[in-house]
Amino acid sequence: MPSSFKILSILFFIVLNSFVVAAKEASELFYTLRTKVLSVKDFTADVKMKIDINNMRIPLLKGTLYFKSPDKMRMERNGGLSILPKKNINLTLGNLIPTGNVMVIDVGYDTLAGKRVHIIKAVPEDELSNIVLTKIWIDETNLLAMRTETTTRNDGTVKMNLEFANYIKYALPDKVTIFLDVKDFKLPKGVTVDYNVNATPDTNAKTGKQKLQKGTIQISYLKYAINTGLGDELFAKGKEE
């Protein structure tokens, strides 16, 4: 009996230790990744943006995307219009990873795009942070976040898939797909006088309900110029004239 107790105690200690080690590993992994991601203070990138949202018909937009850490982002299109989701969080990885002290939970391993990825959850200790929880799928070999799922206090959940090729050193993606929820919008038909020969009465318009539409934004980054020291004034101009 005493020997069985000993064995159980040892097993319990091993299991507990493995959890502690795993948590420590996950925590180290998170902080190392965050350091790598935050090493990019600013960038300028030639981009192609494809917005695919049910009630929005927008052609493929080509332009230049400017980013300055922590949260400034602007797209410029040679005098053309640019459209970016109006979220408190912007669409860079650096902004979807919690800052400050973070509690890291090891979720385990999975396979993503043929690669073995380590999944962790990061919960910021700062209760005022807009980010409530971020789940990150990490390629440990290259130290890259392949997918993130960030739950925010004010902006719902933002999912992001990232593909890397040329800028692995900076953890900057070549292609990002963002999945987001967009509220349906309606304008009175008396105002717009739509051309729709086969129009039928819209029940949603009558009930005034706003449906949520699923949408994706796909950004292809063609060329980066990293840490060139972009000024704040660049982000102040370019608002709607």
């Binding site: 009630n55 219009l81 640019s82 739509d194 020969v197």
Partner: protein
């Protein structure tokens, strides 16, 4: 025939009231452009409220292309009246002045007279739309510049790149000519029944207003007749600003209006041929 057409055009353009139409279009266009210059942002803020809540749109939204679209939308009701002012007067005006009998003493068939009246009204309509294109599109581009265009439908947001817009306006103005030609033929038809021009002009506007209400009222009862009303198809020019452009629907709308135009013109000829001219 050409001589008769020249006479008809001379009759139209010698009247000062013909130029009222051109003046009105210019005045309304200026007023809308002025309003957009002073408070365009406020107007856009209201129209794009649903989009602005969720998206940050940067760039020159209030450009000449968008202002032209707003002008065309605002002139939907007025232009038929301006067309009716001339086409409604074509036969009834002659009857009122007592010159119709004199006109019919010429060795030309009544059908040809009606056709020349229609053709001169058509030329006036084309000139009116060309003038609208000049003051609305080109002046707006001069005042507000170019840029990508946004088009707000009741349930969709459409963005068109600036290099892809101009052809849409050319097609839209061509479509507007067709739509207004239908109004001209209706007005000419009503003109054949009257002995003064006020009646056909008012009757044309009455028909347009009532049918436009029926076209836009979202009541299931009217769903059956809506596709057959020419007023439903008159806004077909807007289809060119959709993405993708509904060419099949626009083609159907053009056919419906061509059908109405031919129908009204044929009915006018038939009635005018049998009409007992007393003045």
């Amino acid at each position: 025939m050409i001589q008769l057409l020249k006479i008809e055009l001379y009759k139209i353009f010698k009247r000062p009231r013909t130029y009222i139409s051109f003046g009105l279009i210019t005045a309304i266009t200026f007023l809308i452009q002025l309003a957009m210059l002073t408070d365009g942002k406020g107007f856009l803020g209201f129209v794009m409220q649903g989009i602005n809540e969720q998206f940050d749109i940067q760039g020159h939204i209030l450009n000449g292309y968008l202002v032209t679209y707003i002008i065309l939308q605002s002139l939907l009701v007025q232009i038929p009246l301006l067309v009716a002012l001339v086409a409604g007067d074509a036969l009834a005006g002659e009857a009122n002045l007592g010159t119709l009998r004199l006109l019919l003493t010429m060795p030309i068939s009544r059908a040809k007279i009606v056709l020349m009246k229609f053709l001169s009204s058509f030329i006036y309509t084309v000139l009116l739309i060309l003038w609208l294109a000049l003051v609305a599109l080109f002046l707006s581009l001069l005042l507000f510049g170019t840029g990508d265009m946004v088009n707000m439908k009741s349930d969709a947001f459409i963005m068109i790149l600036k290099d892809d817009i101009m052809w849409r306006y050319f097609m839209a103005f061509a479509f507007a000519v067709l739509a207004m030609t239908t109004i001209a033929s209706l007005s000419l038809f009503l003109s054949a029944f009257a002995d003064n021009s006020i009646g056909p002009i008012m009757a044309t506007m009455g028909v347009v207003v009532v049918l436009t209400i029926l076209s836009n009222l979202e009541i299931p009862l009217f769903n059956i007749i809506r596709p057959y009303l020419f007023t439903t198809h008159m806004v077909g020019w807007k289809g060119f600003f959709d993405d993708p452009v509904p060419f099949a629907a626009i083609g159907r709308s053009a056919l419906v209006m061509a059908f109405y135009t031919i129908g009204f013109l044929t009915a006018t000829i038939v009635y005018f041929n049998k009409k007992d001219i007393k003045s």
